[in-house]
Point group: D2
Chain length 337, copies 4
Amino acid sequence: MMRAWMLPAGCDGFDKLFLKDDVPDPTPGYGEVVVAPRAWSINYRDFAVASGQYFGGVLKADAVPLSDGAGEVVALGEGVTGLAVGDRVQSSFFPHWVEGPARMGPALGDGTGAGMLAERVVLPASGVVPMARTLDFAQAACLPCAGVTAWNALCEGGRPVQAGDTVLVLGSGGVSTIAMAIARASGARVIATSSSDDKLARLRELGASETVNYREIPDWGAHVKQAFGGADKVVEVGGTGTLGQSFAALGFSGEVALIGVLSHGEPPSPHALMMVGGTLRGIFVGSAAMARKLNAAIDANGIKPAIGRRFAFEDAPAAYAHAWSSDSFGKTVIELR
Amino acid sequence: MMRAWMLPAGCDGFDKLFLKDDVPDPTPGYGEVVVAPRAWSINYRDFAVASGQYFGGVLKADAVPLSDGAGEVVALGEGVTGLAVGDRVQSSFFPHWVEGPARMGPALGDGTGAGMLAERVVLPASGVVPMARTLDFAQAACLPCAGVTAWNALCEGGRPVQAGDTVLVLGSGGVSTIAMAIARASGARVIATSSSDDKLARLRELGASETVNYREIPDWGAHVKQAFGGADKVVEVGGTGTLGQSFAALGFSGEVALIGVLSHGEPPSPHALMMVGGTLRGIFVGSAAMARKLNAAIDANGIKPAIGRRFAFEDAPAAYAHAWSSDSFGKTVIELR
Amino acid sequence: MMRAWMLPAGCDGFDKLFLKDDVPDPTPGYGEVVVAPRAWSINYRDFAVASGQYFGGVLKADAVPLSDGAGEVVALGEGVTGLAVGDRVQSSFFPHWVEGPARMGPALGDGTGAGMLAERVVLPASGVVPMARTLDFAQAACLPCAGVTAWNALCEGGRPVQAGDTVLVLGSGGVSTIAMAIARASGARVIATSSSDDKLARLRELGASETVNYREIPDWGAHVKQAFGGADKVVEVGGTGTLGQSFAALGFSGEVALIGVLSHGEPPSPHALMMVGGTLRGIFVGSAAMARKLNAAIDANGIKPAIGRRFAFEDAPAAYAHAWSSDSFGKTVIELR
Amino acid sequence: MMRAWMLPAGCDGFDKLFLKDDVPDPTPGYGEVVVAPRAWSINYRDFAVASGQYFGGVLKADAVPLSDGAGEVVALGEGVTGLAVGDRVQSSFFPHWVEGPARMGPALGDGTGAGMLAERVVLPASGVVPMARTLDFAQAACLPCAGVTAWNALCEGGRPVQAGDTVLVLGSGGVSTIAMAIARASGARVIATSSSDDKLARLRELGASETVNYREIPDWGAHVKQAFGGADKVVEVGGTGTLGQSFAALGFSGEVALIGVLSHGEPPSPHALMMVGGTLRGIFVGSAAMARKLNAAIDANGIKPAIGRRFAFEDAPAAYAHAWSSDSFGKTVIELR
């Protein structure tokens, strides 16, 4: 038997989380492994799942939440090669998107299949990724959704980031802080925005060379263009409410990586893209191959995901509450203590 | 002295075009050439210029219209190399965008500088392009705006068209018909839309393997996705009014090339791009280098731009009127007879 | 029981082929399928395998030869999705290279594992590819090695072929003839070489716009550069003996796709690559994903692999002998009659 | 009148350098500027020019040597825009290769036209590049040949370096040291080779995470592959004598950037490229656009070219002698004091 946090069928918010302590231990099928997570992290989409507003809608059955976990392999199914019991691994958001172009498919913790917030999880072997050698479980648990999203946004597609580029990141959440670290490691200059001067100071400590308080400068898009020459990449975690500003910030041949669903509002006209020959690229996390490349970059550059606060497994609801609050910065982590 | 068609200062429509027959003959400066056009073509943007709705707004002074012309070099300024009197050349929409990434700048016929609809025009040597060997003046005159736009949309950027791709073109205008020819020459399957079954029949003759009457199938985007597996490229000449359907038509990792300002309406949410890892790329014509590549493709494949109707130089206003009408198909050409 | 052609342990030539008629019928494991080939084709490497000169050296045990076959799925193992009994499929040269960057691994018919020249073959489901809809079994059987190699050479890597490019193909073998078809379908101009004027005439019929008899013009590399402006792509099936000429034929930023091991001789200095900013790219067949893209291109463009001669399954040794002779043109096919 | 160092017609070595002090002051033509260099650097090719072994062969007339200089604009010809007197600029190796794909053409200091080792030089405006804001003249003078070559090798072509890649640099010369800095700024892990443990220690200080003494490990190529997993990029400054080892060091889909003419020997067979799907790319410095991107990367990352020793303008021959000796490390600079 093992413990797992679960969201009930019909769930309308993360306050409905409950801990079930008599879940049968999973056994791996052909090509599968059992992973015992030691740490987890929470992403924005996990709130959407909990409130029944994710792609699958209201939960039809009790479901284990979360896509992000890191731990050890504790059992191997038949036919598994390249992995051994004891390997330190992290989950892969889309367990069946191993490599190649975008394809999506079922995602961990989407309410319809496996979720990570349990003591043991069965995963396809192709859907686990060896942890970066230089990270601990808590740090590696920050990566499956936010880290791979940031890597995809910056390092994949038709215009990967290069040394000397200017990268604009919005806010201080999990995607933005790891994107900043990847951009800095790639030799880019980073401009970061926030409405809090305190957070801007922390972002400068983390490597931002320029910061913009978007409350003080509501036209921050045009400001970025005029003061800093325009962005080659915008990591757009906001959504339709900020997209117009992101377009305005873009330099010639620049790319807005569209990640966000945080803000709402009328979508802006995309005609600004024509004036700079720019692109808007839809990002939906990424593949296991991207996670491997991210981990190589982490090991080569000593990147450490920014962890705001940590909570015990037993306090998962408090972790959710913190991640949802305006106090959160970087990633909120749950760990087995 | 020479003749030139002109739009008057404050012009509010192409019916104000007037023919001036005592324009001084131009002389080339350092690095410039004089071109004597033999044929011209009209683009949608020429109506915007004439009605004072282009980027520069209402014309501040009389101006020669049109970006597109093809003819012969008749005089060379100092320091010009690689061109000789008698060379058959076409204009370049952005005369100073020779090659490399997007940069735009002043465009021919935008009402603020040189325009092509005259008997002789001074152009920077870098802003003329040798005609495709297999085209005549009228055919070459179809290319500077519509042809290069179509080339840029299909063959540049992060995801150039490849044999076996599916390309969706909207309508039967100048950009769409040349895009169809380029796509076919590149080995792609082409799906074309129109509201006229007659035009759809002509598009099938020109190489479309599938056609969709968008009046009969208002949800043509979803239809393209279901019936044909989704588009790898959409040549989006419509604008905000059709963009939502174009997003819906897109397959995984596909690209919508955003060209159009024809239709209006609320911009759609771009979130559909996230679900397919797709991109929206802003296209604003292209460089002289792109024109040269297009011409090589034309010569290698026997591509002929689709010319709907031809008018004499003296009948330029009638050419404008035809191009503006719903009878037009492909390019409307003006020629010296 | 089933029949299979086999090479004996220690085999030193294809004349040692023997037909075994009491091979146990294979059963598929988890994730595997059984394919019943209807047609096969022979590649140059199959001679190397038969003579003990392939990567694995002299055969250590009896082995079924050939990598290339097309037929029907006749049985499914557990866990197979996306395939059904009766599906028309072709083999994949590297059954475990599904997609993504180069990785190679064990190849069909390399003498160490499965080979295709049998009445039934067990393959991993990921290692079979649905046939192009417009091809029959014999045509599809031409593609797994030669077709995918040609696709990889032309359409993958850092400089995929585009309409208007100039492509140089050497000789009239299986790779060169399918490469010519792909290049033409992609809108390229094709230059072909041979020492036989008869074969050059056949190559012009197949789409070559220029041909060079390399016996008459020993410096055919420089000739291609001077007469035709240089090649953007060379499909180099020759090897070290022709590589110097291929370098000389290359235009600025062109690419030589290195496939060949046919000719021998001192490797040339690669410094010619510096003078044109060119690349030499090593090609070793390709992935199942490339095969799928090739098949889409075939269906969209009516490409038919050039089949020189066909032999019955029972006459496999005669097929080998023909493919080895100087009479062969395009692909030599074996089929079940 | 001004001073210029010159190589005499028929020159057979840099010991023939002579200082001419009555060279007429240059005046700029249309589109040209006059630059007064404050610092210069020496490249390997400058020895080839001096000994009559560069592409043009033995000098036909007295010529000013060197491609690399940095200084101030002191006069503008007609038609120059975007530059002003007093601007801090560096030379561009190929003054007419502004941007776009490889094209080469006449190079500064090649013995047939302008060279930089003079008090004032006339250059086309498009052939000067604004200095990186964070460099002084001596540092900027290190870049036109070696720096742009390193940038082209690592950051252009079909496989630009990314964070997490493994880059192998050979030796401690000018190209290798700046390549190491660019690779580190781009987030790559760097492996460096030398025959001197002292130099290896200095390379580790400059950012190499792994070093290999190629005298102790003659099979350093295979060693790099086994011990470090293979290189994604090799900056091959050696030439045919080291190329075989570079091929052996290459990982899957890796690229050898071919720069070098330092070592001689039989060219190795390129078949190793086939086994890893690797490429060999010929590098011949690069364009002004690449220099601008390099300078942006330098400013964003605080890169400082490694300067081994500095000499006064009057001691140019001593600078040549030092650069030629085995004591040299990084770049040898000449400066106006």
